[in-house]
């Protein structure tokens, strides 16, 4: 069955964000990371959609979304995500963000707390001066990414995105990811401004204000966003649960597919708590 879809208009009246909705049940909004469209959730959506209504969207300037901004912040991206919830007719949702999407999820929980039922923060960082920075090779890759062609960049990113076990034992999954990524057009401009947003992101001081159930998921071998950031998030968000995946790197949904079912379990348990209350 093809997903329901639509365009979410933002208050500026000229930006339209493409969104898709799959499955039935309590809504969960998935927020993708740097430069990627909502379609990059292709492994996760079918698993979560067995029990939940899964909403994905393309960030401004990415995929099928229209319009653009020259300055981008995770605050603005969180406001965009709230507009997607409006367009999908959802008052309150679980929110699951990965990498840059996890930064946006933090901002959504802080800026629009009434819209967020729970959050899952995958392979992400609190930002700011207390966050653990990636190593120099990763920073050089991120800076040089725009000088590479799409396939070259996708292949150059492999050592940074995947842990050693996946690179050794599951090269076919990495090839599937690359094929999926290359099927969507890549916007240099969107990448540049999203990188700026990620660099400027800083929720460290406000994390203790997040008052919804939180699950932090992080791969131990993550080089893009070092695992120390997951520990900081879990320590600073009251009651947060931390799951460290021993064999995974940054793109853990590819490396550890079972994690999606565990995340669905976490979200469903929150709904059961609501019903019991």
């Amino acid at each position: 069955m093809s997903p329901a879809h639509g365009l979410a208009a933002t208050p500026d009246g000229r930006t339209q964000l493409h969104w898709e909705s799959t499955g039935r049940g309590a809504p969960v909004l998935l927020i993708m990371g740097l430069g990627l469209s909502g379609g990059a959730w292709w492994r996760t959506v079918p698993v979560l959609a067995r029990r939940l209504r899964v909403i994905t969207f393309d960030h401004r300037g990415v995929g099928r979304s229209r319009a653009f901004s020259d300055v981008y912040t995770t605050e603005a991206m969180a406001d965009d995500a709230a507009c997607v919830l409006d367009a999908a007719g959802v008052r309150r949702a679980h929110v699951y963000g990965i990498s840059l999407g996890g930064m946006v999820a933090q901002q959504l929980a802080l800026r629009h707390p009434e819209r967020v039922r729970s959050i899952v923060l995958g392979a992400t960082s609190p930002g700011g001066p207390r966050a653990a920075a990636p190593d120099d090779d990763v920073l050089a890759f991120l800076r040089g990414r725009l000088r590479m062609r799409s396939e070259e960049a996708a292949r150059a990113s492999v050592p940074f995105n995947y842990g050693p076990r996946c690179r050794r034992d599951h090269a076919e999954r990495i090839e599937e990811d690359i094929a999926q990524r290359l099927a969507s057009p890549f916007s240099d401009r969107a990448y540049r401004v999203q990188l700026f947003a990620a660099g400027l992101h800083n929720c460290w001081g406000r994390l203790p204000r997040i008052a919804v159930p939180t699950l932090v998921v992080h791969g131990r071998h993550d080089r893009m966003v070092p695992v120390e950031n997951g520990r900081i998030l879990a320590e600073r968000i009251p009651g947060a649960r931390l799951e460290i995946l021993d064999e995974s790197g940054h793109l853990y949904p590819t490396e550890e597919p079972a994690v999606d079912a565990a995340i669905a379990e976490f979200l469903a348990a929150r709904d059961e708590e609501d019903e019991a209350a």
């Binding site: 009246g13 000229r14 605050e75 001066p129 400027l200 992101h201 800083n202």
Partner: protein
């Protein structure tokens, strides 16, 4: 020292709330304007208010958290 940080943090929070309120007001104003390019200019003004404000707030929080 902690009191100073708490105070500065509260000031930044208040400034952020003001930025949001002003940007929202600008967007409401834009919706009342039927004439282009006046409407587009007000929308642009609202975007600049929100994004410049977010950059200022994030920068200030960086300094505070350092």
């Amino acid at each position: 020292m902690e009191n100073w940080v708490d105070g500065a943090s509260a000031v930044i929070d208040a400034y952020e709330a003001v930025v949001r309120a002003v940007a929202d007001a600008q967007l409401r104003l834009a919706r009342m304007i039927d004439v282009q390019p006046a409407r587009a200019l007000v929308v642009l003004w609202a975007d600049l208010t929100r994004d410049a404000g977010a950059v200022q707030v994030s920068t200030a929080r960086w300094v505070l958290d350092a």
